[in-house]
């Protein structure tokens, strides 16, 4: 960690966050007091096995859900008691999601998918178009603007999803098992793009159960049984771009 101290400002912080919910009459303690901080410009992994509470933590970090107790601080503001509609507005401005299952709208062009957050943000049609094209170019899909999901490979679909996550200049890009549905080569490409974006200053949070994927980040937060078990600074970070160069040349483009 060689960044100067001034850039290590927390974008999002959780303070003693707990989450309880009832599942078929049984009370589940998904989170039992989690305090983490995500700093501006860093790439951090939240790692844990299934059932550890990492999905619940991701929902709270992604402002999709509210904690039962504790606080969630976004850019210095306590957002833990906001209404669903207020959270929707904050998600629109501050969070970019990348999902395991891509979650693109079917029968909709790549460009229209990327424009979606801007539609709800209230941007004009010309501005939406300009920013969506720009975001797609950043993930190397400037030539696939009119393709629909079914006309794109898995790796390309995930890159469209990354472009969608980027298009609103979010405070955090939240990637939930982004390589889970991809073959290894596409997975490496996607990780390479995420690392590249992070190098350009974008804050990236990776949520994964895969230790190797987690090591693409600078820091790994291990979650177990609803608690933060440990925080680890990654000593030998995986560099996806190097891995990609080491792979044999791709036979089929695209």
């Amino acid at each position: 960690m060689s960044e100067p101290a001034s850039t290590r400002v927390a974008v999002l912080e959780t303070r003693d966050v707990t989450k309880r919910y009832r599942l078929e009459g049984v009370e589940v303690n998904a989170l039992r007091g989690v305090s983490i901080a995500i700093n501006k410009g860093e790439m951090v992994s939240i790692m844990g096995p299934s059932g550890s509470g990492k999905s619940t933590l991701m929902h709270i970090v992604g402002l999709l859900d509210r904690p039962t107790e504790g606080q969630v601080i976004l850019d210095g503001q306590d957002v833990s008691t906001l209404s669903p509609n207020e959270l929707a507005i904050l998600r629109n401005r501050h969070i970019g999601f990348v999902f395991q299952a891509f979650n693109l709208l079917p029968r909709t062009s790549a460009q229209a998918n990327v424009e979606l957050p801007l539609v709800y943000g209230g941007a004009s049609a010309s501005e939406r178009s300009r920013r969506a094209v720009n975001a797609l170019e950043r993930v190397g899909l400037g030539n696939r603007l009119t393709h629909t999901s079914s006309q794109l490979s898995g790796g390309q679909q995930q890159r469209v999803a990354i472009a969608r996550a980027l298009v609103n200049d979010p405070s955090i890009v939240l990637a939930d098992e982004p390589t889970g549905n991809l073959d290894s080569r596409s997975g490496i490409e996607v990780m390479s793009i995420l690392q590249d974006l992070n190098a350009q200053g974008i804050t990236v949070v990776l949520v994964t159960h895969d230790a190797r994927i987690a090591r693409h980040a600078q820091r790994v937060i291990h979650v177990l049984d609803g608690r933060v078990q440990s925080t680890e600074i990654v000593s030998e970070r995986v560099n996806a771009a190097e891995e990609l160069r080491a792979l044999p040349a791709e036979e089929v483009a695209g």
């Binding site: 669903p84 509609n85 693109l104």
Partner: protein, 397 residues
């Protein structure tokens, strides 16, 4: 998100499922077309019937047996005594300022000439009947006073009776058989136009005395009075009541033409509302179809809703998207239904004697009703969609 954006999203979703959208719209199309067509027919019939009553001639009073209490409610009890020709004579003698007092009998009968037969309405009156039946002679003459007094078996034919029994021939002087009795045709009339209610062209006219023998009765159904001056109508009405009361007590009613028109118009108005109601039910069924398909659509698109919410759609955005989808279905269906109903009504009045008249009022009502159906049946599915939890929705398979 602004309104045009919501409309664009809704249209894209409808276009993605063209067959489904079209079939859903069909319910509304049929409902609205039925409303337009049936209300059109109702309005048309109303116009024609009131026109026909007005066409009977002006300044008429209708005297009927029985007690009618202030309108179309029907008589409270069957009349204990019916009118006779004497009663007509009494009115003629005792009431001033009348042009004509005409006792009338109407009945059904079968007319035969050679091997041709036809079912007709027999309209029987005195020689003054001409003044209340506004038919114009095409040939021959009307029956005379002497023929009324003698109960002669003479008859004048309406135009469609002539066409049917004596195609391309002058019927005057020919013999016909009515209810098995021989009659001589003395005249025939011009067509009064394609009537739907009580086709006057399918009537035959004969002296009232002849009809009494023919039907075996000695009373008459109605007495029609023509008042000379319009301003005398109320006075004549009161005089007639005064003259008849000693004989009939309260057991008769005098309607002016205006009252008759009012009663008919009320009756047909009610009929029109009834037709509109029946058609409205099919529109309601169309609305339920919209609700059904919107519920299917919401559950199919749960994941889409989750995605939209994740990237920042608020409750209102999702709600308006689905309401606009439902309203688009109903409004498009409504517009197509109006076009079809209007076209159907025009085609109907052009090709059949059924009159129809599509009023702007009916079109506006059908349109706004269709719009309302879309909103009413679209809100619940849209509300359901808007309340989905984004986490659950994204997990939905």
């Amino acid at each position: 998100m602004n309104f045009t954006e919501s409309v664009r999203i809704a249209f894209r979703a409808l276009a993605a499922n063209k067959a489904r959208s079209l079939l859903t719209m069909l319910g509304v199309i049929i409902g609205v077309a039925a409303v337009i067509l049936l209300v059109g027919i109702g309005t048309g019939v109303q116009g024609e019937v009131t026109g026909a009553v007005e066409g009977l001639g002006s300044n008429l009073l209708f005297i009927v047996p029985g007690q009618f209490e202030g309108g179309p409610g029907g008589d409270a009890a069957p009349p204990s005594r019916r009118f006779t020709i004497d009663d007509a004579d009494l009115i003629e003698r005792r009431v001033d300022g009348l042009d004509a007092v005409v006792p009338i009998i109407q009945g059904g009968g079968t007319i035969r000439a050679g091997n041709r037969t036809m079912r007709v309405t027999v309209a029987a009156a005195t020689e003054d009947g001409e003044q209340v039946f506004s038919a114009t002679l095409a040939g021959g003459r009307h029956y005379r006073r002497s023929e009324v007094q003698a109960a002669s078996r003479v008859v004048a034919l309406g135009s469609s009776v002539t066409e049917r029994l004596f195609p391309n021939r002058d019927p005057v002087g020919e013999a016909v058989t009515i209810q098995g009795q021989r009659f001589t045709v003395v005249g025939h009339y011009q067509s009064q136009g394609g009537g739907f209610a009580g086709d006057q062209d399918a009537q035959v006219y004969m002296p009232v005395t002849t009809a009494q023998r023919l039907f075996g009765v000695d009373d008459v159904g109605t007495i029609v009075v023509k008042v000379s001056e319009a301003e005398d109508i109320e006075r004549a009405q009161a005089d007639i009541k005064r003259v008849l009361t000693p004989r009939f007590g309260e057991e008769f009613t005098v309607f002016s033409q205006e009252q008759t028109l009012g009663i008919l118009s009320d009756l047909l108005g009610t009929l029109t509302y009834m037709l509109a109601g029946i058609a409205g039910i099919s529109l309601l069924v169309g609305g339920i179809g919209i609700m059904n398909i919107m519920l299917v659509s919401v559950s199919e698109r749960t994941r889409e809703i989750g995605i939209r919410k994740a990237v920042g759609a608020r409750t209102y955005d999702i709600l308006s998207q689905f309401v606009i989808e439902a309203v688009s279905l109903s409004v498009f269906g409504g517009v197509i239904g109006i076009a079809l109903g209007w076209g159907g009504a025009s085609a109907l009045s052009a090709t059949t004697p059924v009159p129809s008249e599509v009023t702007p009022w009916a079109v506006a009502m059908a349109f706004f009703f269709a719009f309302g159906v879309g909103v009413f049946f679209g809100v619940y599915p849209a509300y359901k969609a808007s309340k989905l939890d984004p986490i659950e929705a994204l997990r939905y398979e």
